[in-house]
């Protein structure tokens, strides 16, 4: 039942993250030393200010197509895909990094697009479910999901397929147990796990 999934982007920048962590904790320690009255004044000011939308220029490549746009700085990669680029194949199942439905590839590694701000992928190559078929020829994993009936309602399916491709690439598809473990960040409420595992086995052994 472990639902933790490390965002590869974060993992790569481990050093940076640690430094960032030390800096922020330092700031928090300082904050703790500030008298309560000042803190409440700060809170009042903060409550009073209504922050307005800010946009920033964003250049991003999705499925090998370049997009240049002014993007709301709050926009996640998931919402950018679904609401701004009309790529609705990537699904929103929780918006909190708890279900895996929004899994896409960023520079070839699986990433939860709901936990990724669109600004973070500037200059990177994003691949979504719409981008893995080749000239109308389904990706072997897409074909395997059809052959093994690896879905029912189909809503978690794009995330499952993106994860499944990465699962094999990561070398974690050597047994049913291993596949199940490394696919456990992608929930399926229909419970189509039999077919999902069989699909991955089929592609991994072909």
């Amino acid at each position: 039942m472990i639902r933790v999934k490390i965002n590869p982007i974060m993992a790569k920048n481990e050093k940076l993250s640690r430094r960032f962590f030390l800096k922020t904790t330092g700031v928090l320690t300082l904050l703790a030393a500030i008298p309560a009255s000042l803190k409440s004044a700060y809170k009042q000011v903060k409550d009073f200010i209504v922050i307005q939308k800010k946009t920033a220029p964003l250049t991003i490549s999705v499925n090998k197509k370049a997009y240049t746009l002014d993007s709301d700085t709050r926009t996640t990669l998931l919402d950018l895909l679904r609401e701004n680029l009309a790529l609705t194949g990537t699904k929103k199942g929780c918006d909190h990094g708890q279900c895996g439905a929004c899994t896409v590839h960023v520079d070839g590694e699986r990433v939860l697009s709901c936990l990724t701000l669109s600004a973070m992928v500037s200059g990177k190559e994003v691949t979504t479910i719409e981008g893995i078929a080749n000239d109308g020829q389904l990706h072997p994993m897409q074909e395997a999901f059809i052959v093994c009936d690896g879905f029912q309602c189909g809503y978690c399916t794009p995330g499952q397929i993106m994860s499944a491709i990465a699962c094999i690439k990561e070398g974690h598809a050597n047994s049913v147990t291993e596949i199940k473990e490394h696919m456990s960040g992608n929930l399926c409420r229909c419970g189509a796990y039999n077919g999902i595992v069989e699909s991955i086995q089929k592609v991994a052994t072909s």
């Binding site: 939308k53 479910i129 309602c153 189909g154 696919m183 456990s184 229909c190 419970g191 189509a192």
Partner: protein, 735 residues
Amino acid sequence: MRFFDKQNKVIPEGRVEAVDKVTGGGKYAAEYKVDNLCYGILVDSTIPSGSIKNIDLTKAQQVKGVVGFVTHLQKPNVPGFATEDLIKQSRFGLPIFHTDKIYFKGQPIALVIAETLEDATYAATLIEVEYNTASFQVDFDAVHHNIPLQEAGRERGQIDSWRNAPYVIEEEYNIKSEVHNPMEMHATIAEWTGERHLKLYDKTQGVNNVQQVIAPLFNLEKENLEVVSEFVGGGFGSGLRVWPHVLATVMAAKQVSRPVKLMLTRPQMFTGTGYRPASWQKIKLGADASGKFLGIHHQAKNETSLYERFSDQITRVTRLIYNFDNLKTEDALVPLNLSAATWMRGPGDCTGDFAIECAIDELSYKLKMDPVDLRSKNIAATHHPENKLPWSSNYLLECISIGAKHIGWDNRSPMPNSMKDGDWQIGYGMAVGMWNAGRNKTSAAIKMLADGRIIVQTAMTDIGTGTGTGMKNIAHETTGIPQDKITVELGNSSLPPAPSQGGSTGMSSVSGAIVEASNALKLKLAEYAALINIDFRNLSPDAILLSGKGISRKENPNETVTYADLWEQNKLDNVVVEATSGPGEERKKYAFCSSAAHFCQVRVNVKTGKVKIEKLVCIADGGKIVNEKAAANQMSGAAVGGIGMALMEEKLIDAKIGGLIGDDLAGYHFPVNADAPMIDVHFIGKPDPYINPTGAKGLGEVGIIGTAAAIANAIYHATGKRLRNLPITPDTIVG
């Protein structure tokens, strides 16, 4: 309107929508492109009880991009909600935006509409609400004892007659509330296409139901309200109601005169779209020394909301599976400051069956009888135990014997706590489930084009069960037209009407209509063929063969009138036939059921209490299996749901704050891939002779009814510890 854009060439008899699902092409409710669309976000009550004193929108209004608001103080006119009486008559449930009263924490009290999702989400956080708070109660366990039971159905025999039964089990069972949590969060796009015309893209299990609920609220002609629900990301019962957010979205679109899209957040899915209510049960079960059941007394209570009463009918299943000459059932509802409960997969029966199947298991050990034998001895195999009608078909006994073989039941050591492997205790358990096999009136149409392709249509939704695929398979089987020449359209209220997909009635209901429509097509084409060749006159559907090219007679299959000739000589456009099919006289002569036997092998860790499901076997009698792959998938998926019910699912409620905690997918656990073994599913596969023209009985529910009991019984066999409350978590095993 097409259910899919791309043909499944990988497996022609496979899922019609498969390519759209694996390429991300299928459009779910929130994914349609609608011009001038804006976004709605609901704001929820932060208190569980009281009333709204004031809603301050001033800060939220300062967010550029905010287009409007809906609250109980500023809203468009909803004629069907104009008075308290009308609200009551509508039976809608929560009178959203038409009351200042707070019934539960999480109740939607305001809606922000903005140009973008980000603007709406942010503005929603700036709305400030003042409340008058009142006392509340959310603790089912604390208060259900105070609610008196009432008789639920007629008493059978005499409760006192078996008072002195030599073998009696009398125990209580508690099950926590579960939440459907389909992977797609409920969403609606509402677009007023004219003053009196409305279009809804809605996640629902029944487009006609949405039409019937929403149209009268706005005095709309039913046909002027189009509801689209082509791809549905799971339901499990959550889509059988029209929930407050749907009405909220329609009101919002009216308020701002623009189309509005609203998708619930995952936490809102815990309070906005129902749940399986928490329950308490008490079972008293008696038997004689031979193991014959003498009687059962089943009492049950379930939680419900304060604004509508929902009975889960937990004791219904008690009257279905076994012969009890003496039977008494009682139930009660426990109103709490919670949102409305609703049907969840295997509603009522899943809960009631858990208690019965655990009690029977317990009785078997008291009797020193094999649990399989005790059940087989008492199952009502030939007649419905309540109305005494003969079963149209009932292969539950066969399911049990096949399941026992598959799990290796006879290899187990019968004594509890007798099989070990290091720190692991090994146990076997089994249970059965049954569901009344229903069927509802359904219409379907077939449109044939000049090139011989057909389009099969119904308004019924496909929530992942394979309805569309089944429709294609049946149309192919009945007409003979090749699978790749058949297209399916569904999930749209402008198609021939159909009931909601739920209660395992989908395939049973629609299959009859497809067969009837297929036969109507054959007859119609034969009529045209008879104008060319007189031999085609007065044929029965069975005597007519269709192919990819033309029509022929069974008597002389080589003599074909081609569609090209038919069309040319009769100057045809498209040929359209429509048929309606539903239950009839057979319902007075027979009783109908689907059933399943569940067998399970578990390992329980002595030190940590961790439960590993090693094997799960499900053998089902669902009549004719229309598409084996999709059916097996549905059954194994239901078994996964049963694992959740048994071991992890619990809607956590904090009695002090009066609301939910852990209301997301990190806090609410349902099985991930690693929690489930590869599940072994088999079917009896014998068509039911009377239920409908195909003999398919329906499967959605029996896959989960009994699974949790089989697991609990296996845990008892492994550990010797009888656990009667769900979920069974490691702490309850080692504690």
